[in-house]
């Protein structure tokens, strides 16, 4: 398969180092304490945050920090075949764990001891890079819920196909079987909190790919920051009005 033409265009018309178009909306679920919808191209994810609230299962309560829980689900209609998706399968358990660990890392949990924060992310439409989109959506939802965080955490994937490092793989590129590096990144602190790859890649190529993914994270962070600023301005406007 040719994923990058000699003219330097990908199948969907992007260049190798371009992100898909993003769109974000804060406050999509009014019941939740914080919520957001985040889109990367045709990947669309809804995140809802509840908490900090009382710990439901007392045995899990921690006296020095908050308990963070995360549940990742894919809507039945999120992929082309509209199949009933079993809950709690291996893949979603793994992604739930990954998202929980990533978010836990940036939430200031020690400020909220003996409490619980629930993050629900649901994929409404899947077109590759759901993991990254979920983390980005969760960041926005946590911010919306007003939960104290060290920094915003953003995530982006990058792959390596036809000897080209490609940013933000879509479904077709993702299923080509090449390496796929997902990075979670704290832009202000300049720290990587998540790094996943499920293939072999020579170390020097890997560094380029990871560098590209970090670039992507930074671009997303800028976008998310603007979205939050815009949202805050709206809030201010509504309060004043």
């Amino acid at each position: 398969m040719e994923f990058v033409t000699p003219e330097g265009l990908r199948q969907d018309g992007r260049r190798p180092r371009e992100l898909r178009e993003m769109r974000a909306e804060i406050g999509a679920v009014s019941k939740a304490n914080g919520s957001a919808v985040f889109e990367m191209g045709n990947t669309k994810v809804l995140a809802a945050v509840y908490g900090p609230r009382e710990v439901q299962n007392k045995s899990q309560q921690m006296s020095n920090q908050a308990l963070v829980r995360c549940e990742y689900t894919m809507a039945n209609f999120s992929t082309g075949d509209r199949m009933r998706k079993p809950k709690g399968d291996r893949r979603s358990t793994e992604i739930s764990l990954v998202i929980r660990q990533t978010m836990e890392e940036c939430i200031l949990t020690h400020l909220m001891p003996r409490s619980q924060i629930d993050i629900f992310v649901q994929v409404l439409q899947a077109d590759g890079g759901t993991r990254s989109a979920c983390i980005n959506a969760a960041t926005l939802a946590l911010a919306d819920a007003g939960i104290p965080m060290r920094d915003i955490v953003t995530s982006c994937s990058a792959g390596y196909l036809n000897s080209n490092a490609l940013l933000d793989l879509n479904y077709v590129e993702d299923s080509a079987g090449g390496p796929d590096v997902t990075v979670g990144f704290l832009p202000k602190l300049d720290k990587v909190t998540l790094l996943q790859m499920d293939a072999k890649l020579p170390i020097d190529v890997f560094e380029d790919v990871m560098e590209l993914a970090i670039e992507g994270c930074k671009a997303i962070a800028t976008y998310i920051r603007n979205v939050m600023l815009e949202h805050t301005k709206q809030l201010e406007y509504h309060r004043d009005g």
Partner: protein, 935 residues
């Protein structure tokens, strides 16, 4: 810069599924014209000349690719929609177009119209895919016209009548390819034009030019849908058609579904399939299997006969086992007949261009006009091709290249068009060129990109190399090389030092090519593509550029060179105590030829260090050789010939068998040992991606002709294993001194060739090398002239931890294609070498009719095939004249392998010596051939 529009498209993959793909439209796609002021002209490819910019339609690209490759057509815009369509329809054309687009000398520009914001069009409801693409092409052409203003003319070239009409309506300049080429006013281009005619399709539309002759010769090809369902139900069988090299009216289709080869007899059953086409075959009913067979002997519609050719080097070169004899003896008790079939459809064409010449024909009256001529390919597997030409008088005595375009049911021969001419028939350079083209050998000079990868000249070992910790300094050793005389690409050298403990340190030093050829460079890509150097009689086509081949890498005498060394400690009994591998620096003290080395060893007065080492090595080599033979390695004989070439005219002066000396065997022995050692080392470190060489065990059927011959001369051959075969070959001693060698030559041609493969593709028992009786084998010792060795060098360096393994080795499918390419190139190089020898044999005998002794190696119904040991050639001798076809007075005894005259006065046995006369005759002007007649 991102304009975004996502669109919806439906695809069917078993079930209907809605799929959504993003499709970004951009404003940063440039037009590629250097005169354009709006666009970034740094990527511009289209010239500033006054010639119009051509926008091509898909049908033009698909059919006229040969014309596009001519440099008269330039300033072409390739739309991405056209490229996509071409790719789906014909991948080989696509690759050729891509090559054109990336060629810096040609002005072809790819315009990604599907992603340009102004030229992207949405599908309209009720519009077919084709119409939509045609519209996209027109929109793009119009965009070019508006974008460039009046600066230059934009021409849409299409052969689709409807498309052209619409284009003209929309105000776009549009022409057919014919009228455009005519407007260029270069008549030779017109010959390159493909006459558009679709096979099978619109058969009724074809004008009845010659009603009397227009009759249906071939049955119709089944439509693709029917073929697919037939294949599913198992009534048709799919496979690649292989035409018998020695009888073009017989072809084989290797079918996986029935696990056997299906034989196809006659052109009618082949139904317009070419060699290499993937076809669908229907089996004939069982009772027809035999009948067809006996038919073929009589069915010599063209006077096809066997030519004199070189002795085949292996079973791959030899004629197919199914001999004509089986048919003629015709008793049904002999092994069950092979299934016969007929082609009912062609799944994938393997048409390309072919080398050959025109059938001699009288000049038609009123020359200068269009003439039809029949083209005869040099490759006998290809049928004659009908072409149209305007320059018949120029082409008649030329070697030309012709491409096939179509073959409809009404014509006996396919029609094609002239591509280019190579030169005069019979001219040595032309014929050599033909040999290269036929074997797909790239003999073009290396490109400038490749040359820039070379280190600056004059090159010498630098202090950096000496200081490099990975490189061992072995300059103090007494290293020397032994090669054929006049060898310039010396890639191996040896040393042998006696150690104080009575053992020997023996080193094999191989040119360190990978120090100069780095993965991913243009040089590496080119070498990988060429795969091997090709040795013709009068010239050598290098795999690597000359400075590397003859200077920088060549381990010449008295200069310091970089090497990759395998060093053993061996006991005097030639047992390996230890092996080490290292990159090194060596300084060869002598570059000997085999003759010189042999002379030194034989001359008892010489006691210098080199001679001493030579003798030690020879003693070791003899023991190693003996052990190898005990293990069951076959000593096979080949009939290699050597030419003496006139240095001025390059004409062959003398011809004779290549003499193998002890020195040759000594060097060979150490090279084998080095290869085996390296194979073990790399396989240990890289069990999945080591490049190895294997030689499959020959099957019973392949050895069948050998056994049959052996039985006829009263010899009992045991072929149960290589060891058994080797032993029985040793026992095969007749009263005639040449007998043993003859049997060995016959055995050699029953074997298949050894092949390269990656260890991950096969299981360990299959790694075996039958001929060498080695569990593992690879090629390490000739990196200057074989790319396989370059790969193995990289693997070895990686296994020593000196260098990282290139990323390529992670890509399994890619590795397999590399191994396939190496096998293909290797085989082609051998074929080219043989063809070159055949050509020179012909030139040699042209002036020298000779009487000589020959051996009968195969009995035919009307004569026999003889082998001429002195010249290493083989050819037919006819007992009956051509006119008296029925060989009434001769009788073939299948069991005893002899041919008798009916009155019993004369008998010819297999392997019998006969005297023959060799002479070059020209049955047709400009078609010389070697003829053998019995004295």
């Amino acid at each position: 810069m991102l304009h975004n529009k996502s669109f919806v498209k439906k695809t069917k993959s078993g079930k209907v599924m809605k799929q959504v793909r993003e499709h970004y439209l951009r404003d940063d796609i440039y037009c590629g014209a250097s005169i354009c002021k709006k666009c970034d002209s740094s990527v511009a490819r289209l010239g500033a000349s006054t010639s119009p910019i051509l926008v091509l339609d898909t049908n033009v690209v698909l059919t006229q690719i040969g014309l596009l490759e001519n440099s008269a057509i330039d300033d072409v815009v390739m739309l991405s929609v056209v490229l996509d369509e071409v790719k789906n329809k014909n991948l080989s054309v696509y690759n050729r177009v891509r090559a054109l687009c990336s060629n810096p000398l040609r002005r072809f520009f790819v315009f990604s119209n599907e992603h340009h914001k102004d030229t992207y069009i949405k599908d309209m409801s009720g519009e077919s895919k084709n119409d939509r693409n045609d519209r996209a092409i027109r929109v793009a052409a119009q965009w070019y016209q508006n974008h460039l203003g009046g600066a230059t003319r934009v021409l849409l070239i299409t052969n689709d009548r409807e498309n052209r009409r619409k284009a003209i309506e929309e105000g776009i300049g549009a022409e057919t390819i014919e009228s455009y080429v005519k407007s260029l006013g270069q008549t030779h281009l017109l010959d390159l034009l493909v006459q558009s005619a679709n096979e099978d399709a619109n058969m009724e539309d074809v004008e009845d030019l010659r009603p009397s002759k227009r009759k249906v010769l071939y049955s119709e090809h089944k439509p693709m849908s029917e073929i697919t369902s037939g294949l599913h139900r198992g009534i048709y069988h799919q496979g690649k058609l292989r035409v018998n090299r020695y009888n073009p009216f017989e072809a084989y289709v290797g079918s996986e579904s029935i696990g056997d080869e299906i034989i196809i007899y006659g052109r009618t059953n082949m139904n317009r399939a070419f060699d290499g086409d993937v076809v669908a075959v229907e089996l004939l009913s069982r009772d027809q299997w035999h009948e067809e067979k006996s038919l073929t002997i009589a069915d010599d519609e063209d006077d096809e006969e066997e030519d004199v050719h070189l002795v085949p080097g292996s079973a791959d070169d030899a004629p197919r086992a199914a001999s004509v004899l089986q048919g003629s003896s015709g008793d049904s008790s002999s092994s069950s007949p092979r299934p016969a079939g007929r082609v009912i459809g062609i799944i994938k064409r393997n048409w390309h261009s072919y080398c050959g010449s025109l059938d001699p024909m009288p000049m038609p009256a009123g020359s200068g006009g269009i003439a039809y001529a029949l083209f005869v390919s040099k490759d006998r597997r290809i049928p004659k091709i009908r072409i149209q030409t305007r320059q018949l008088e120029n082409l008649l005595d030329k070697r030309i290249i012709v491409a096939v375009d179509s073959w409809d049911r009404l014509s006996r021969y396919p029609s094609g068009h002239y591509v280019r001419s190579i030169g005069e028939i019979g001219d040595r350079d032309t014929e050599s060129e033909v040999v290269l083209i036929e074997n797909d050998i790239n003999s073009r000079p290396f490109s400038s990109q490749v040359m820039t990868c070379l280190p600056p000249l004059p090159w010498s070992v630098s202090p950096v190399d000496i200081a490099n910790p990975i490189r061992q300094d072995l300059r103090h050793l007494n290293v020397f090389s032994v090669d054929p005389p006049g060898c310039k690409d010396i890639d191996d050298a040896l040393h042998c030092t006696a150690l104080s403990n009575g053992n020997f340190e023996v080193g094999v030093h191989i040119a360190d090519v990978t120090n100069f050829v780095h993965p991913g460079t243009a040089l590496d890509d080119e070498a990988a593509q060429r795969g091997t150097s090709v040795y013709l009689v009068e010239r050598r086509i290098d795999m690597l550029p000359k400075p590397l081949t003859e200077d920088i890498c060549s381990l010449r005498a008295d200069v310091e060179r970089l090497a990759f060394s395998v060093i053993w400690e061996m006991t005097p009994e030639a047992d390996i105590v230890s092996t080490s591998y290292t990159k090194s620096i060596i300084k060869s003290s002598a570059a000997l030829s085999y003759v010189e080395a042999q002379a030194r060893m034989d001359d008892s007065r010489l006691m210098d260090p080199i001679t001493r080492d030579l003798r030690n090595m020879n003693a070791l080599a003899k023991k190693m050789r003996l052990r190898r033979i005990e293990r069951g390695a076959l000593t096979l004989a080949s009939a290699e010939v050597k030419f003496q070439i006139d240095t001025e005219t390059h004409d062959p002066l003398d011809i004779g068998m290549y003499q193998i000396r002890e020195a040759n065997q000594m060097v060979e022995e150490f090279m084998l040992a080095a290869n085996v050692s390296v194979a073990e080392k790399i396989l240990k470190h890289f069990p999945l991606c080591s490049l190895l060489r294997r030689h499959p065990t020959p099957t019973k059927e392949m050895l069948e002709p050998l056994i049959r011959t052996a039985v006829a001369v009263g010899l009992d051959l045991d072929v149960s294993s290589s060891k058994a075969l080797a032993d029985s070959l040793d026992r095969a001693l007749g009263d005639d001194p040449y007998f043993n060698k003859l049997i060995r030559i016959l055995a050699t041609r029953c074997m298949t060739q050894a092949v390269y493969f990656y260890s991950g593709d096969l299981s360990p028992p299959e790694y075996q090398h039958y001929g060498l009786a080695a569990r593992l084998y690879t090629h390490f010792t000739s990196p200057i002239r074989r790319y396989a060795d370059v790969i193995v060098h990289r693997l070895l360096a990686a296994s020593l931890g000196i260098f990282k393994l290139p990323t390529l080795f992670l890509d399994r499918p890619k590795l397999t294609t590399i191994a396939d390419n190496l096998n293909y190139r290797h085989r082609n190089a051998q074929m080219a070498g043989r063809a070159s020898v055949e050509l020179h044999t012909l030139i040699y005998f042209k002036k020298r009719p000779t009487d000589t002794e020959a051996r009968i190696v195969k009995i035919r119904s009307n004569g026999f095939i003889v082998f001429v040991p002195k010249f290493g050639i083989e050819g037919p001798v006819y007992l009956t004249g051509k006119s008296e076809k029925q060989s009434g007075e001769w009788f073939v005894d299948e069991q005893e392998q002899k041919i008798k005259k009916l009155d019993g006065s004369i008998t010819y046995n297999i392997l019998q010596a006969v005297r023959i006369h060799m002479e070059v005759v020209e049955p047709q002007p400009n078609r010389p051939k070697l003829q053998l007649t019995l004295l």
